[in-house]
Amino acid sequence: MVRNAASKAVAPTLTQRSRKSARMRQFIPLYLMLLPGVIYLIINNYLPMVGLLLAFKKVNYSLGFLASPWVGLSNFTFVTKTQDAALIFRNTILYNIAFIILGNLLAITVAIALETVTHKMFRKVSQIVILIPYLLSTIIISYIVLGFLSHSNGFINKSIIEPLGGKGITWYNQPKYWPYILTIVYLWMSFGYSSILYYSTLIGIDKSLYEAAVMDGAGTWKQILHVTLPCLKTTIITLVLLAVGRICYSDFGLFYQVPNRSGMLLSATQTIDTYVYRSLLELNDIGRSSAAGFLQSILGFICVFTANMVVSKIDNESALF
């Protein structure tokens, strides 16, 4: 009796266990599928995270990274001893603020324009054409900019300034013009993308809202103010916050290749990304480069994290987490 009861009590746990291991075994193919991706993430993403510690070392290639001596914060002295840090952080953040404000204003306007246009063919063509710049590499864009700004052959010098009796401007030598040039180039290459995003929200708006507004006597501006913009609110907030999350990062090609790598423009074109690249590969200053990169990664993380917390409060669907 007792024995029987005991074996009855043991038997289920045994089958449970074997059932559990059989269950786990059934997932082995799925884990194997994940394996290549996991290895890639370790190599491409997680090893470099560990590598951030290089910022606190004096790297000596012959000793290797592990044996290189720790030097505390001495790589970070460029922050206090030079103007570099202030300059690159100022440039990166100010450019991003200008890009966010102007980019979104332009994109919303274009989205409304696309909706206003009733000529079907024209609307279709516009939608297709405004995305072309977004499709191009920054190299092609830098050739286009060169076509306009080249000192001796550029369209602006040769066809606008000189015929008007002015003297050609040496664009690639004078930093003062570049905040405007880079902003225009940025808007040119990216407005199509964000316009299409806003437009895809706009066409989802219930037409009866507009009809009701018209019944209440709302004109064009009132409709934009009281129907269109409120309906776009979540998209606007999401796009702005996601951009704020990336405020410490910049488009490397835009700031490095479009100004034609000109050293004379650095005060206006140097951002954290170009500074890190130049310090490492052009000046071989790995300490300073990794220190600047370290600051960017940490501040970047704080920005993304905060921005996403706010996004998820406002619109859970659009947040990254």
Partner: protein, 293 residues
């Protein structure tokens, strides 16, 4: 919007017309300038109207066609390999993540997602690839870093599978004795064709347009350069074309000014020609990828 405000309509039409022109005209300028003689370019610069027609730039580029075709070939090779591996990795990662019953799914999701929040940045990544894996001056250096997998795309694909492939279909297949691999290849893949096409297109554009891996990881083996890096070299190194034309035995003077525009045209034309065919997928990729899929 319902508007009878004519002035508003005119302004909106004009704005769009202006922007459409702004997107197209620069290419017209490149095109016209590439077909203008050096002397006319020296006098009136890059322009939108033909002054003195000349095909010297293209004749010259025909002379160095070996190096240009080679760069194109490299671009095609890098893109083909990169996109194929990218799509395979994405599918293999997204399918298990879409399975609600997979133990540890949340941990793996976070493992993927954390890479979108935090990254080591350029210096450590460069060190990992050059000092640990020695990818410098190799084809792998143009394919593997940064581009091989995109966390956004994986999350897009995972969401697509969970919402479009009913769990029941998978379970029924299992009861009929299908393995996980068969479920993936016979059920999930055929049902996810649209999203795979979109992801492949986005990866294709990323690889085709990439030039940063070239300047990061290639220092001496410029023969590995794709077309984008070829363009970078022509722009930044006045003697680049000269050294390339030596080998092909071209010895007339390089029409430097028009050649720059001609080479940009040669690089951009395939993209513009292909664009109408993939335009729909491209727009879909944009609207899907912007916000969490």
């Amino acid at each position: 919007m319902i508007t009878k405000n004519l002035a508003f309509k005119i302004v909106m039409y004009a704005l769009l017309a202006f922007l459409v022109l702004a997107c197209v005209m620069p290419f017209w300028m490149l095109f016209v300038s590439s077909l203008t003689s050096e002397t006319a370019l020296a006098k009136s610069g890059y322009n939108f109207v033909f002054t003195e027609f000349s095909t010297a730039a293209y004749e010259y580029l025909w002379g160095v066609r070996g190096s240009i075709l080679r760069a194109y070939g490299m671009s095609v090779l890098i893109t083909a390999v990169g996109v194929s591996v990218n799509v395979v990795l994405t599918v293999l990662f997204a399918y298990p993540l879409s399975r609600q019953d997979l133990p540890g799914r949340r941990v793996i999701s976070f493992f993927l997602f954390f890479t979108m929040l935090f990254n080591g940045g350029f210096v450590p990544t460069y060190m990992v690839y050059t000092q640990v894996f020695h990818l410098k001056d190799s084809l792998a250096g143009l394919i593997i870093p940064y581009l091989l997998m995109n966390a956004f795309h994986i999350m897009m694909m995972r969401t697509y599978i969970t919402t479009n492939v009913p769990k029941e279909v998978n379970e029924a297949a299992k009861i009929d004795g299908a393995t996980e691999v068969q479920c993936l290849t016979r059920i999930v893949l055929p049902m996810s064709k649209p999203i795979i096409a979109t992801i492949a297109l986005m990866a294709l554009i990323a690889y085709w347009n990439n030039w940063t891996n070239g300047i990061y990881f290639i220092t001496t083996r410029t023969d590995l350069y794709g077309i984008q890096n070829y363009l970078t070299s022509v722009m930044n190194n006045a003697t680049f074309l000269q050294t390339h034309s030596m080998g092909s035995g071209v010895n007339f003077k390089i029409p430097n000014v028009s050649v720059r525009m001609a080479i940009a045209i040669i690089a951009v034309i395939p993209v513009l020609l292909m664009y109408p065919f993939f335009q729909k997928s491209f727009v879909k990729g944009i609207t899907l990828g912007s916000v969490k899929g």
